[in-house]
Symmetry: C2
Subunit: 417 residues, 2 copies
């Protein structure tokens, strides 16, 4: 996105502001916004910031969150700016997991950051299974069963992780389902960790993103008091600024003494990178109608999101056109997680080699076509099912070719059995 | 430093390269270097990099390390780029500390990152005391005594942390002392963690920085096989790019399977921020004589280092001019750690209030003058001694004023007792 990069370049090299050619290089709103950043970030981008992030930038992020949620107030002191969403998950797991008896309810399939950090901090991943038959839906009834099973094993269940839109599964939760999950957390005394990094990646026409912050603020009864953490990142959306490592976590209904401990934890590493913080503040405060940058920004944004939507459809259609493959719609996020049904012979031969059939499939796909996918086991999956994960990110002009190559490979591979 | 910022601004906004005014804004070497970065960083600064850092940038860092160490080869695969030096310390402590029986020999006074991460990962800090009377020297004899004491308590000692130049103590180790510490690690079977983030901040005329990498490569006998980790950061030196969060760790004499585990650990968080990686590669590859940027770069660098040196002298002189204060020379780094000798009455009154006298001194200094210092207890100190830590970073034009204010405060404060 040109707008972000223009602002960032000036913050890196403030002399550009006073360059005689500045107004021929940059739109006026870029120049004035960059100046505002430079004036309000103590020490500019060169100094350490507060461990939770530059106060001015947290105020901007808070404003952006309020606009997203229809005005529910956001307190900048409840925000931690982070180097991408990952450090926030580290903080949470470190704080929640005291021993292997402490468990985190985690969706399966899941993003491996969760299994890795739960293991790293010595806790237990208590799985709950998304229902592939129902479009990767989350069922509160199933969750309650898993909680009972976990408690019967002596586990102390601390939190529920919800990834919405889903990674790697691409589903978008309905508002009703979110309310149900919130009530479940209230009933069971759990913290709700909402991984909402794909919140601007929604492609299904009948789906809309609601933040858990909004849902909890509009809840009544015990659900209104659930402690919620919302994670966001600049690595996704239509901007994909992965390399900057920017993001934040917002905590809601957290007691002050717990926030103090989180602050202390964040302060060990001094601060998240300021360039990523600036980019995060920018993504939450896009140019407005009338601003000189508005038109180009909107064109770029719309083009990227429209292209992602076309690619999401193409990927799913390709998979569903193949024998032995079924794929739920990619309603949001950036991935498809199709199910592969292997002939028993393929399964037996793989197992005889000490391998899983989806692993062998993905490796041979890579060797023969150069297409990189990840076997479902990397994300965990229900026993006896096999999947692969692919992204919808290859350039659109390559997608038809990739789709064709994939189809030819698949028929040949399955034909062997 | 203008040179770094110029290159970074183009990488953020590559359109600047082809702007018709580019050559009036930027020196030619900046333009060609920025192009080289853009061409060699897959996906530019917008994409995730390899978890250890962009290969091209690690090659540049390796080249810089080789130049620093007089040609000893540096393998880019032994480098992990990091968001500042802190994440490297997290990786190391996570890998070294299996239980509270695992101990890390840590200098006292120390940089609080060490006490915090050792606690965080459940290990034990086994202190060794720098000798204030001998200019904060490290004694191998004392280290051996501490090891014996530790082992008598059932501790399994895993590593020796050496901070050189010292933080917060400002001493620079002699080459002989470094060789002695290396041999100590060889004899005791310890990893040497060399925190060398202040390596370009040397002010004492008779002192020179030698990296532990160079010392281990030039060692003979068992010392040549000691596993060494060298930490570096872009937050220090004459550039002070703290807000970018860039740095690296180099591991020497590490077995491949251990390196594989470190790689896995780093990959949980995807990658360090690419902007910080670029800046790190730049700091290790300064402009050379004949390059268009060389003159300005050298002027800026020399001015900053000369000013830091003057400030180091002024701070130490101020402290030593005061009754009840003694301060070792600031040979390197960015801090002074003067010792405060309080009248017994001040100590007794503070203790009666449940406080330490250096804490009360620093708080009252802040209240009365606005000068921020940190009581010695934040860095640990030998029992019965009191210190404060201050930096030599305030702008030089303010230093005389700060020095005067401090002296007046000190006389009044001590006069009360």
């Amino acid at each position: 996105m040109t707008f972000y990069r223009q602002v960032l370049s000036i913050i890196d090299y403030p002399d550009l502001l006073t360059n005689p050619n500045a107004s021929s290089i940059y739109p006026l709103d870029v120049l004035s916004l960059a100046k505002k950043f430079i004036d309000n970030i103590p020490g500019g981008s060169g100094a350490y910031s507060e461990s939770k992030g530059v106060p001015f930038l947290r105020q901007m992020v808070a404003k952006g969150i309020e606009a997203r949620d229809g005005g529910h107030p956001c307190d900048p002191d409840s925000l931690w700016m982070t180097d991408g969403a990952s450090p926030a998950v580290h903080y949470l797991m470190k704080m929640l997991l005291r021993s292997e008896k402490d468990a985190i309810l985690t969706p399966i399939p899941q993003y491996p950051l969760y299994s890795a950090t739960i293991k790293l901090y010595g806790g237990t991943l208590l799985p709950y299974y998304l229902s592939e038959e129902k479009g990767w839906a989350t069922s509160a009834t199933h969750l309650k069963e898993q909680v009972q099973k976990g408690r019967a094993q002596g586990l102390h269940i601390r939190a529920l992780v919800v990834i919405n839109p889903g990674n790697p599964t691409g589903q978008v939760l309905t508002r009703e389902n979110q309310e149900e999950l919130l009530q479940f957390c209230a009933d069971e005394g759990l913290i709700l960790i909402a991984d909402e990094v794909y919140q601007t990646n929604i492609y299904a026409q009948d789906k809309k993103f609601y933040s858990f912050k909004k849902v909890v603020r509009e809840a009544s009864g015990t659900a209104a008091n659930v402690a919620v953490v919302s994670l966001n990142s600049i690595s996704k959306g239509f901007f994909g600024e992965c390399g900057r490592r920017g993001g934040y976590m917002e905590v809601v209904n957290f007691p002050d003494d717990v926030k103090q401990q989180m602050y202390k934890l964040a302060s060990i590493n001094l601060c998240p990178n300021v360039n990523g913080q600036v980019c995060c503040a920018l993504t939450l405060n896009p140019p407005q109608p009338g601003d000189p940058s508005y038109q180009l920004f909107t064109e770029e944004k719309d083009a990227i999101l429209a292209s992602l939507k076309r690619r999401a459809l193409l990927v799913v259609d390709t998979f569903n056109s193949l024998d032995g493959v079924t794929c739920n719609p990619v309603e949001g996020a950036l991935y498809a997680f199709p199910r592969l049904t292997f002939p028993q012979k393929a399964i037996d031969e793989a197992h005889a080699r000490g391998k899983e059939p989806d692993f062998e499939y993905c490796m041979e796909l890579l060797d023969r076509t150069g297409i990189v996918t990840v076997p479902g086991s990397g994300f965990w999956q229900e026993e006896g099912t096999y999947h692969l994960r692919t992204t919808i990110l290859p350039p659109e002009e390559d997608m038809q070719k990739v789709s064709k190559l994939f189809s030819i490979f698949h028929k040949e591979y399955m034909g062997k059995f």
